[in-house]
Assembly symmetry: C2
Homo-oligomer: 196 residues x 2
């Protein structure tokens, strides 16, 4: 009879995320995960499976958080306010307070490592979900008269997704938070047809 | 007395670029470069120096080509036409006909590899030069009445540079050429205040 799990799954996944984030999938050893989570090897395997399975759970955990940030938008007074909040979330995640590490998913997807097609697929489907959510938001903006009717909501949503990816890369190229913020705000201003 | 150089420097640099592009700086061995260029080890060292020096020459060569593509813009009839041509060049380089390899400079800069701070610096200064060139182009567009006067040329230029980076990342995430093209064209349409 095993002991009951005495750890918080979400906290463990956050810690594992940090490790995969800074070292990548291939560069992370089981020992790294044991050290970071404070769990024994047997508990780690018992609760999360092997490295690949843990990685998949970490990614699912990360996506759930990102989705929650996107859904929050329903509380915003206007579509413009929602878009501004969303792009600022992107800047925060591209440019965290603790060093230039970029977006977890993009980093995994970018890796030329053939061992992580899974990460690439997850990234692709995440971008697709973000695109659909943004498209719906842009349509609401058109209905509300905030966004011009001759804007193609799908193309505009796609452009925002490209922006999000670009923020991560630019952060890694050494851009500071204020530069990223200026670019992100400008994207929203252009979509809303406002001046800079 | 050495033999005269019987190779075309530009061709050799193109070949070395291909190798660094697909394998990264760390992943490229001198033997890889010998195989790709067809030059002997001694000729390679004699003409280009060690791996780091050759890499620097390859990057300088790549930048000279990218700058030439940007300058071509002076022949365009309108600023809108110039911008469209430029973003399409970006799509071509993010999404070459021969597989998803992305933009050479971004790939080098993204690498977490501490051995390539040089690549990161070069990427940062290349982005800065692109930003200045785009800012000047946007100002001309304002003078010509193609772009609204209340657009901040610097922020708009920054946004385009972020777009360029995002196109590369999105290409690696599996986006096809038509998706990238739609996003790039949408960026120009929004800047010019045109419908999609």
């Amino acid at each position: 009879m095993g002991r009951p799990r005495s750890f918080d799954e979400s906290t463990i996944l956050d810690k594992a995320l940090e490790v995969f984030w800074s070292r990548g999938f291939e560069g992370t050893s089981i020992q790294d995960l044991v050290d970071a989570t404070g769990l024994g090897r047997a508990s780690l395997y018992g609760a999360f499976g092997d490295k690949q399975q843990l990685f998949e759970k970490v990614i699912a955990h990360y996506i759930a958080r990102a989705d929650a940030a996107m859904r929050q938008g329903k509380g915003d007074a206007t579509v413009g306010a929602a878009l501004t909040r969303i792009v600022r979330t992107w800047v925060d995640s591209a440019c965290p307070r603790t060093g230039p590490r970029g977006c977890f998913l993009s980093q995994s997807g970018i890796s030329a490592d053939p061992a992580t097609p899974f990460a690439r697929e997850v990234l692709a489907s995440t971008l697709q979900r973000a695109e659909k959510a943004l498209e719906a938001l842009i349509r609401s903006g058109q209905t509300a008269g905030e966004i011009a009717a001759d804007r193609d909501p799908r193309k505009a949503a796609r452009l925002l997704v490209v922006l999000q990816q670009g923020l991560v890369t630019s952060a890694r190229a050494g851009w500071g938070r204020s530069q990223l913020q200026a670019a992100a705000d400008e994207a929203v201003a252009q979509l809303l047809g406002r001046g800079s």
